[in-house]
Every structure is written in structure tokens, then in C-alpha cells.
Symmetry: C2
Subunit: 243 residues, 2 copies
Amino acid sequence: MLPRAAKTNSYQQVASILEAEIVGGRLKIGELLPIEAELAEALGVNRSTLREGLRALEGNGLVRRVAAKRLQVTAPDPERVALTNARALGLRGASFRDLWDVQMQLEHFAAALAAERASDDQAAALRASVEALAPVLDDDEAVIRHDIAFHALIGHAAANSALELATAPMGLLLFSATRDLYRAVPAARHRLLDAHRAIADAIAARDAAGAAEWMRRHIADFRRGYEVAGFDLDAAIELRRAV
Amino acid sequence: MLPRAAKTNSYQQVASILEAEIVGGRLKIGELLPIEAELAEALGVNRSTLREGLRALEGNGLVRRVAAKRLQVTAPDPERVALTNARALGLRGASFRDLWDVQMQLEHFAAALAAERASDDQAAALRASVEALAPVLDDDEAVIRHDIAFHALIGHAAANSALELATAPMGLLLFSATRDLYRAVPAARHRLLDAHRAIADAIAARDAAGAAEWMRRHIADFRRGYEVAGFDLDAAIELRRAV
DNA sequence: GTTGTCATATTGTCCGACAATGTTAACATG
DNA sequence: CATGTTAACATTGTCGGACAATATGACAAC
């Protein structure tokens, strides 16, 4: 086992060094990076090279452009991370069953936590989401958007960033993969609405057990719909354009 | 709602376009990208600009440098994704409790799946991992490394990429956050070894219920150790250097 | 067939330049 | 003094060109 030539490129080193500074807390979240000329000087590379390193960091979500043209150190944005993870899962050929299995383990727990921890505003937002869905129940796209948003709200209300990180990408992938489900199984729309309403009510009533139970049924029903529609549980799920 | 100024930078457009090609399947996984000069020409930007876009994609894990100097289209590497997610969680201040809650929901399920699906090689690798741990039980670093590896093996053997994606980052964060645990609670080392052995045996015996039950106890015990050691369950977990 | 040599292709890095745009400072005006 | 205007300045995004290092492939020599 030879000592691995350690011949990394300069721009990778730039990214690694800055990443270490961020993770190590020497560059704090929210802080502005020095201007490119200074950074390049300090790191001993050309501005072009530095910029390549910065773009890599940007791809990692550790810095972002802020109003002023300056770059700001930032913790990865949950939505971006969710998208990235969803893409990773899609590209690796995850199946509906894979995703559903995990969802079944997590969503009821998220609902229970949300019932315990949601602020009044969040509980109200959940109910508002349900009521906003009712009038557009025959618009497939809208149903999917609302479904994703509803589960994202719950994930957020559960106030557990690890749980949110784990559930968000699956919501994105699963629900957007069901674009044809509602055409094939029209009744699913109403069952979805009823379930959402029951869950939102339970959360608003701080009924953790009820929220969890309704969520279980909701997720189970989701799978049933998928099967009834004749989709293959084990086929690689289709990656769709971000919703 | 104005039509969103669409004033994105060229290098971001480069990244978006290529990303769309990859996600849309027109650029297939494993394919080599054209040489930079051609790509720049085709996209109508300068090579420097193109390279910034490529670095962003690289940061997203969608392309990687391969033996030849050429860039290869690739699905994000699970280990990299796990690291990225762990970093995101750490920077967002996730607590031990947050992570443990999710782990408690998922790990027993992973163990059960592993018992059903693990190949003989994988089952053997699990047992080998346990036996490799036994002789180095007094080396804290080694214990942590083995612990992470053991759970990663199970995650992999469960043959569910979504589950793996969800569990891997927590293993990284949680276990590496316990560097001082084994000094504070020496007995935890032996309980860990026993649990690992029981889990590996159950998986090798295709005993899904047994594997799940042992895993539950193992995770529960892990938390007890953390509490006994006097650590704060709700403090933001400490980000450590990659193990 | 293997090995060595060489021309070629490609990337990584640097340099310098400039337009667009945001920021700051100076200034006038009420 | 507060406010609005303008001009100087700073910074980023993009470009073009250059060159060394190195991998690749072809070809010759053994």
C-alpha cells in the first residue's frame, strides 16, 4: 500500500483548505470571504485557479453569492441538499419500494414529532396547505406540488434537521414520480386530501399518536395507489425535472 | 411575480445545462465528456468559464476525474454524499438526540433487511469486522472506525440505496462524536463488541427479527452510554475531522 | 511480443485585460 | 444638517492567449 501520491490539483487544495476553515469554525457561517485577489494572494495561486476552487465550494453549498457580489460562507441549504440527494438516489436507480420502505419508517415519526413541537403558525400553515389543495384537486401537477409541500412542512415542524434531511429527498422523488398516478386512480386524490386533513388536524390538536397513525395509513395508501395504478414497485424510479 | 430576471452567470448556465443533460439521460453515467476546448466551443463560452462550470459540477459529484485526464459523468458517490450530508448536519447544529432519534427509526430496519438480503460474502465481511474489532478494543480510534464501518456494511448489505443514504451520514457524525465516550464508560466497549457480534450472527443466520432486535438494543445502549458519560443530548454535535 | 522513443493531445496553471456593476466618497442643494 | 446626485473606485465575470506537465498512441528496435 504505497503512500498515495498526494498529487492533488491546486484548485482542489484551495477548496479543501477553505472547507477545513469552515468546518473547523475559523471561517464562521455568514462571514464574507475576502476578495478574490486577496484570497489568491494568501493561498499562493492565480485568481483563475482560486475561482475554480471557489466554484467547487459553491457546488458543495458551503459558500454562496450574496446581494453584494461578495461570497458568503454558509451552511448548506436544506432544499438544495434535498435536491442533490434526490438526484443522487435517482441516478443510482433507487426503486419506489426502496424509497417507500424508508418513508414508512420515518414519516409517522415526523408527524408525531410535529404534533409535539409545531408552533401555532406551523400548525396553521399545515391546515392552510390542506385547504389550498381542496379547490385544485383535479390538477395533477398542483396535487403533487401540494403533497410535496405538505410533507416538507411536517418535516420542518418536526424540528429535527437530521429527520428533515432524510425525508425531504424522498418526498421530492416519490411524489414527483407519481405524475400519472392520479389519472390512473382518480379516487386517490380524495383519499390524499382526507388524509392530509386528518393529519393536519391531529397535529393542530397536539395528538402525536393520531398524527402518526394517520400518516401510516396515508403512506400505506400511497403505495396501494401506486400498485393499483399498475406501476412496478421495483423499477428504478423516474427522475423528473425539479417540480 | 416577475419572470425571474434569468440573469444567471455563464458558468452557472454551463453547470445547469450539463446537469440537465446528465439527469435527462442524454449524457450517460460512465460516459466521458468531450475535451474542454470542444465543450467550450459548443456552449459558446471561454474555456476558463467552462472550467468554472465543470468545477461546480464536480462539487456536486456529477463528474469526476478519471484515470485518463478526461472527465467522466458519474452518479454521486455514496461516501461523498454521506460526508457532505454529515457536514451539512453538523453545520446546521444537529444534536445527538436529533441524530439518535432518526437512527433508532432506521437502523433496526436496515439490520432486518440485511438479514434477508446480505450475500454470503457480506455476511462473512460483517463477522470479519467483528473479529477484527476484538483485538483492538482498547484503542478508542479503532473502535470508532470499526463501528462506523460495521454500520456502513449493514447499510450496504440492506441493498436499499435510500436507506443507505439516510443512515450513512448519521453513522459518521454520531460515532465520531463519541471519541471520549469509551474513556468515560469503558464497559461500553465490550457491550458494543457483544452487540456487533450478535447482530452479525443473526444476519449470517438470516434471522431478520433477531438482527433487528439486537440492533435496537445496541442503539438504545449507545444512547445510554452517551448519557452516562455525562454528555448533553441536546447540544449541537461536534464536527470532527473525517475519520 | 515487449520495450523504448517520440510526436501529439489535453489538462492545469498562469498572466493580463476589460466591461459590467456595485460601493464609496465627494459634493451640491434644500 | 439631511438628502439626493454624481463621479471615482473596487470587484467580479468573462475573455484571450500562453506554456509546462503529462497521458496517449504510433512506430521503431529488440
